[in-house]
């Protein structure tokens, strides 16, 4: 099973998209609008990476978006950007832990 399929199988994950910082779509699971997701998250990750650079915070690792009814976790590893869209924000910590593990080569 691919890393993206693993992520998509986590509780409350609606879809998972892999892209790059340029906004190109690499792969998607259960996401019909993968190109748009990859484009937006690529731009967001690039912008926040720039903000972190200006503030001297080092490399951008992850972005978590908590909404009233849903959530989103974006993991950045090098040029690669993985986006998990969640049906419930309460599951964000579990997805973050998984993505941190994936980043450390445990998946």
């Amino acid at each position: 099973m691919s890393e993206l399929a693993h992520i998509a199988d986590l509780p409350d994950v609606r879809s998972a998209v892999a892209g790059d910082l340029a906004g190109s779509l690499l792969d998607a699971v259960r996401e019909k609008d993968g190109e748009a997701i990859a484009a937006v998250t690529g731009f967001v990750a690039s912008a926040l990476a720039q903000a972190g650079d200006e503030l001297g915070l080092g490399a951008l690792r992850r972005i978590s978006v908590v909404g009233a009814a849903s959530g989103c976790v974006v993991a950045v590893e090098g040029d690669r950007v993985i986006t998990a869209r969640l049906a419930a924000a309460k599951s964000i910590p579990a997805v973050e832990r998984f993505l941190d593990g994936a980043g450390n080569g445990r998946v």
Binding site: V44, L48, L55, R61, I63, C72
Partner: protein, 254 residues
């Protein structure tokens, strides 16, 4: 709003706290020396662009956390009426930030900011903006929505003219003694402070202010003076390697 941001600054790990309006402009700011208002203004614009893009896919967002190798940025939406809902509260923190405490503190602070914005106190928001004003600077003008931007010593003010806010920009220039020709020049000065601070510490802001006055005593600081200013500021760095790094950071990436 000063007290609200000061409360956030007291959280362990918080280095800067600010309120941004819908266009990414800083409404109020508190921060440690290296996170002065100029740097935060630059970052505020970038963060606002990111927020606008996130809203395309998640309109109901409440909190955005960007986790970095050496810290994080946490942004909280200020809900409320149309005026308040355009504002966000942002915190820059190091790795020691307790995320749970920060979540609660930001929620409370966002409610207070909402009340302040809806109550109209955003018109005098930045009374506590860091760093402290240089001696001799005058008090904020009534009605100037960015009074301490002007008095911070890091407020690179665009001179009055067509398309600019004459009252705000003019008074800023008068208060700080440093005028800039355009936003790019302002951004460059902020970068100069940031890069110089790596080598000389918080005194960088004073060096930059003095440097601008030396290279551009009579006219607003502009792009043509970038290199002369870097030449001037390089003299403040004793170590030749550090000096070369400083020059490269500013001249090769402009």
């Amino acid at each position: 709003m000063d007290a609200i941001l000061q409360g956030l600054m007291e959280l362990a790990g918080v280095r800067a706290a600010m309120v941004l309006d819908g266009s990414g402009q800083i409404v109020a700011h508190r921060g440690q020396a290296v996170y002065d208002r100029g740097v935060c203004e630059q970052v505020g614009g970038t963060v606002t662009k990111a927020i606008e893009s996130i809203q395309l896919q998640q309109e109901d967002w409440e909190t955005i956390t960007a986790q970095y190798a050496d810290g994080r940025i946490v942004v909280r939406k200020v809900a409320g009426t149309a005026a308040a809902a355009r504002h966000v509260l942002a915190v820059v923190a190091d790795q020691t930030l307790n995320a749970s405490f920060a979540t609660v503190a930001l929620r409370v602070a966002a409610n207070k900011v909402k009340a302040a914005v809806e109550g109209g106190s955003s018109q005098v928001p930045a009374s506590g903006s860091q760093p402290l004003p240089p001696s001799g600077s005058s008090a904020a003008h009534p009605g100037d929505s960015r009074p301490v931007l002007a008095s911070s010593g890091l407020s690179w003010a665009k001179p009055s003219g067509p398309g600019s806010s004459a009252a705000g920009a003019g008074s800023s220039a008068a208060l700080s003694g440093v005028a800039v020709a355009d936003p790019a020049s302002s951004a460059f000065l902020s970068r100069c402070v940031k890069e110089l601070a790596r080598h000389v510490g918080p005194i960088a802001r004073v060096y930059v202010q003095e440097g601008v006055r030396r290279v551009s005593p009579d006219a607003p600081f502009s792009a043509a003076l970038f290199r002369p200013l870097v030449d001037d500021l390089s003299g403040q760095i004793e170590d030749p390697k550090d000096r070369a790094l400083f020059r490269r950071a500013l001249l090769e990436s402009k």
